[in-house]
């Protein structure tokens, strides 16, 4: 799943705080990219493991007890933006993608 090469996603300025976007990877998989209120960028697999729908990017971003999370829009489970682990059911998780910002561009590495 993890792409081998660097994939530019979009300009950092295209991200709105706490509103995710989805990006399509060369292998056809999808990544949800988030900018937090504090300015951190996170990337998770876009597919919600509970529904199978590719929608995590459209979830509400916030925190659970200080842990930054995105809440799946389908059945409302929260996922830790840093680890991909489901806060409501830790045996479930989504893959985390390494992400960086270089020269104002968000890149998956």
């Amino acid at each position: 799943m993890i792409p081998r090469c660097v994939t530019p996603v979009c300009a950092l300025s295209a991200l709105r705080p706490e509103q995710g976007v989805a990006a399509l990877l060369p292998d056809g998989s999808q990544v949800a990219v988030f900018l937090t209120h504090e300015g951190a960028v996170h990337a998770l697999d876009n597919i919600d493991p509970f529904s199978g729908a590719a929608v995590l990017a459209r979830g509400i971003v916030g925190d659970r007890g200080g842990v930054p999370v995105v809440v799946s829009p389908v059945y409302k489970q929260a996922f830790d933006l840093r680890t991909g682990v489901c806060v409501d059911s830790p045996s479930h998780s989504v893959a985390v993608h390494p992400v960086r910002v270089r020269d104002g561009v968000v890149e998956l590495t």
Binding site: T7, P8, V9, C10, A14, R16, P17, E18, Q19, V21, A22, A23, L24, G28, Q30, V33, T36, H37, I47, P49, F50, S51, G52, A53, A54, V55, R58, G59, I60, V61, G62, D63, R64, G65, G66, P68, V69, V71, P73, V74, K76, A78, H92
Partner: protein, 827 residues
């Protein structure tokens, strides 16, 4: 239900509240069907809520007093029993019907006492006991053509007399209340309390004459002239006698009677004939006749148990009362007059605040015996169950507001004789999680409603998370946050959470705050930071489906649509390959649109004159209509026209939960208005307004709140209702649960919305006017703003590329989603 071959026959004489309860209780307990039940009722309608009789004046609709319909009993309405042959065990009705019995229950209630004043039989003189009595009073008032101020006299200044006076006020009559005793409500209230009560009711246009009585009533042309013993002469349109009641024992069975009338019964409610029982207001139990419904209900339960071989005994009665009329609180409980030997009184009389309270305690000041509260009876619910128990620490100190906790056996709901234990057991068993579920499973709170605040407290005591905190980020309830946002004019979530909360919010508080901001008119729901607060559906102004696609629902006000517009919908659906379905809300849903397609679809729809139907929002959904006068041969008003007006007025209104409405053109109710949050049914004279209806998980019929109003008044009431709901409801609380959980119930709601008891109606109307004036179509707003439009794409790095996980197959000639494989998790 199937009965055993030889069931026994129970005959009940009297279909009042207590007779009704007996049948309910017996049917519930008699699982094997031992008893067949025949009920005779003299009144032409089934038993109704006599306790709430006075509220009939608000609507003149008897439906609002209906009790739960009885099943499994043969009920003969409009049939008076005229004789009972105890030898043959047969009763005979006025029409000559004979029915035999194995057991007989007398539940004949009481008759109003009319003192022997000369002229008491004149037309225009009435009693106050039945719906028919109130209809007759209304007729008299309607036909009285007196010029100038219209006046009435109520003879009797007790609890019922004051209720009757209030009812007259409701009919536009200035009431004179004449009471023989030196003070009002002599049975419940002492001199100090009655003094304040008199001052308070006189402010409400009541004239009080105490220590005197009427010596004659005469007719003078179209007027009635009453002469009082103290020489005062009153010029009147109507007279109502409310001078007490007498147990109704006109059926002469030759049974023993109590010292002050009533069929004498033992602790098992048996009369001197072991096959004959008496319950309710016609029974004298231990020599006492109780004029309240709760002891009657206890007797009904006792007899139901006895008929099935049990040995239940009458548990005694609580004579506490709370009068919630005239806007004046009066409560009296326990030994209110300190008749217990050595009883001490603690009186606080605050003439400035207009409150009076007296607590009666035992000589050692350790036990609470009773009390009287006038002006402010907020403490009543808590104090009443403490009678006979230890005085809580701090209660007797000046201004004392002790932390009160009830013992387990304290009776919390006296209407239904439910103890704290029963309620806490139900809560601890996890059956009850809030006030509506307590009402449903224990009946507590479904009578006069005065114990509802206590029910809430018991939930808290049991550790049921009644914390009003919205979520971990805010300690406030939704209603409190609404007030904060309104008062401080905060316009962003970030500012609100920084000042009044903590953290960065979550899927609970963000949409709730987004809704509050939208209710208060803060521009487009996707404007600036607001977009990050919205639930998925609001974020894309469409409903997300299971495969991540969306459905599109254009508004079709009232369900009325031109052929041209229908064709547009058809064309759009065809061109974008959308599955179409007629919804349950009289409009059309188009399914299977991807995020990228939404703006293109809406461009076509908006150009053709459609706008958002808010199927995605906690907002007004639809106002359904029936065809009404225009086409229907029964219609009495233009239901389609009104439905469209209402839908256009409230479209886009964000609320704690979704809002639905309907308008029916006549009482046949084809639009199902009573299943809606607010429903309107046409009458010959205008409209009836119903509120708090719900389909869904817990269906509830809406309650009538105003009747025969004109369109302008109707809209004013709906404006107020909706804005009051928006201000005070919890997050995701439909109006039905909101009404159910409201302290003071429907009466309170009616008071606020119709009588403006909180003085906020002008504000509520203004808020609605601002909403109506500020409305703009959300989808047009998106199409006109490139920044908002930019969000409607599947992939930020590959605009226009369709989401590869979405695929469709065909079913019945339309496309439907291919179910997604859910690899890791079994749901």
């Amino acid at each position: 239900m199937t009965l055993p071959n030889n069931p026994m026959q129970l005959v009940v004489i009297g279909h009042g509240m207590v007779g009704h309860r007996l049948v309910e209780a017996l049917r519930a307990k008699d699982v094997s069907g031992t008893w067949r039940i025949v009920v005779f009722g003299e009144e032409k309608r089934p038993a109704y809520d006599r306790v709430a009789l006075s509220s009939y004046v608000d609507t003149w609709r008897s439906e609002s007093l209906e009790l739960a319909p009885l099943e499994g009993a043969d009920i003969r309405l409009g049939e008076t029993v005229v004789s009972v042959d105890r030898e043959r065990r047969v009763v005979t009705s006025a029409s000559g019907v004979e029915v035999s019995y194995d057991a007989l229950v007398l539940a004949t209630g009481s008759t109003p006492f009319v003192p022997p004043v000369p002229g008491r039989d004149l037309p225009g003189c009435h009693v106050y006991r039945t719906i028919d009595d109130l209809d007759a009073i209304r007729e008299t008032v309607k036909s009285a053509h007196g010029s100038g101020r219209r006046a009435g006299m109520v003879l009797g200044g007790g609890l019922l007399g004051l209720e009757a006076a209030n009812a007259l006020r409701g009919m536009g009559i200035s009431p004179h209340v004449v009471e023989l005793a030196p003070r009002l409500m002599p049975i419940q209230v002492d001199e100090g309390g009655a003094g304040l009560l008199k001052r308070l009711v006189e402010k409400l246009d009541l004239t009080v004459h105490t220590g005197t009585s009427a010596s004659s009533i005469e007719r003078d042309g179209s007027r009635l002239i009453a002469k009082l013993a103290n020489g005062v002469e009153l010029d009147l349109d109507v007279v109502v006698f409310s001078a007490g009641i007498r147990p109704r024992t006109d059926l002469d069975l030759g049974l023993e009677l109590g010292p002050r009338g009533g069929y004498a019964v033992d602790e098992g409610c048996r009369t001197s004939d072991p096959d004959v029982y008496a319950i309710g207001e016609c029974a004298a139990i231990g020599g006492t006749v109780y004029g309240l419904v709760a002891p009657g209900y206890s007797m009904a339960e006792v007899v139901a148990d006895r008929l099935l071989g049990g040995a239940a005994e009458f548990p005694g009665a609580d004579l506490s009362t709370k009068l919630k009329l005239l806007g004046v609180d009066v409560a009296s409980f326990g030994d209110a007059h300190a008749t217990t030997e050595g009883a001490l009184e603690v009186v606080v009389n605050n003439a400035v605040a207009g409150t009076y309270s007296k607590l009666v305690v035992s000589d050692d000041a350790k036990t609470l015996l009773g009390g009287i509260l006038v002006g402010d009876a907020a403490q009543y619910a808590m104090l009443r169950p403490l009678v006979g128990k230890e005085v809580p620490a701090g209660l007797l100190e000046p201004g004392g507001n002790a932390e009160l906790s009830l013992p387990a056996d304290a009776q919390v709901c006296s209407c239904h004789a439910i103890t704290k234990q029963t309620i806490t057991d139900a809560i601890c068993a996890g059956v009850c999680t809030d006030v509506p579920t307590i009402k449903a499973c224990t009946k507590a709170g479904t009578g006069c409603g005065s114990c509802v605040p206590l029910l809430k407290q018991l939930l808290t005591e049991c550790g049921v998370e009644q914390s009003k905190a919205l979520c971990e980020h805010f300690d406030h309830s939704r209603a409190e946050l609404f007030e904060i946002v309104r008062a401080t004019r905060v316009t962003s979530f970030s500012a609100l959470v920084e000042k009044h909360g903590r953290g960065r919010g979550c899927d609970i508080c963000k949409p709730a705050v987004a809704s509050i901001l939208a209710s208060l008119g803060n521009g487009h729901v996707l404007g600036g930071e607001q977009a990050s607060l919205q639930d998925t559906n609001d974020k894309f102004l469409a409903n997300m489906q299971r495969n991540g696609t969306y459905s599109v629902v254009p508004r079709i006000p009232g369900g009325e649509i031109t052929p041209e517009k229908l064709i547009v919908i058809g064309e759009v659906a065809r061109d974008f390959g959308l599955y179409t379905k007629i919804t349950g809300g009289q409009r059309i849903d188009l399914f299977g649109a991807t995020v990228d397609q939404l703006p293109q679809i809406w461009r076509r729809l908006v150009d053709a004159g459609f706008e958002s139907g808010h199927a995605y929002g906690k907002a007004l959904r639809t106002v359904k209509s029936c065809v009404g006068t225009t086409w229907c041969r029964y219609g009495v008003q233009d239901s389609v026209g009104l439905a469209i007006d209402l839908e256009l007025r409230y479209r886009g209104l964000r609320s704690p939960h979704k809002l639905k409405s309907a308008v029916s053109g006549c009482a046949r109710e084809c639009a199902e208005a009573r299943g809606k949050d607010f429903g309107v049914i046409a009458t010959e004279n205008g409209w009836n307004l119903y509120v708090g209806g719900n389909g869904g998980f817990t269906p509830r019929h809406a309650d009538l709140i105003a009747s025969d109003v004109d369109t302008e008044t109707l809209i004013r009431y709906i404006d107020r209702f909706l804005m009051f709901y928006i201000r005070t409801a919890d997050r995701l609380q439909r109006t039905s649960a909101w009404v159910e959980g409201m302290d003071g119930g429907l009466d309170h709601l009616r008071d606020v919305i119709i009588n403006d008891s909180l003085g906020i109606c002008a504000e509520l109307e203004e808020a609605m006017a601002a909403h109506v004036g500020g409305y703009a179509d959300e989808w047009r707003g998106v199409l006109e703003d490139p920044e908002k439009l930019a969000r409607f794409q599947s992939f930020v790095n590959a605009p226009g590329t369709p989401d590869p996980t979405i695929s469709f197959r065909e079913e019945r000639g339309q496309k439907v989603p291919v179910q997604l494989g859910i690899p890791e998790v079994a749901r």
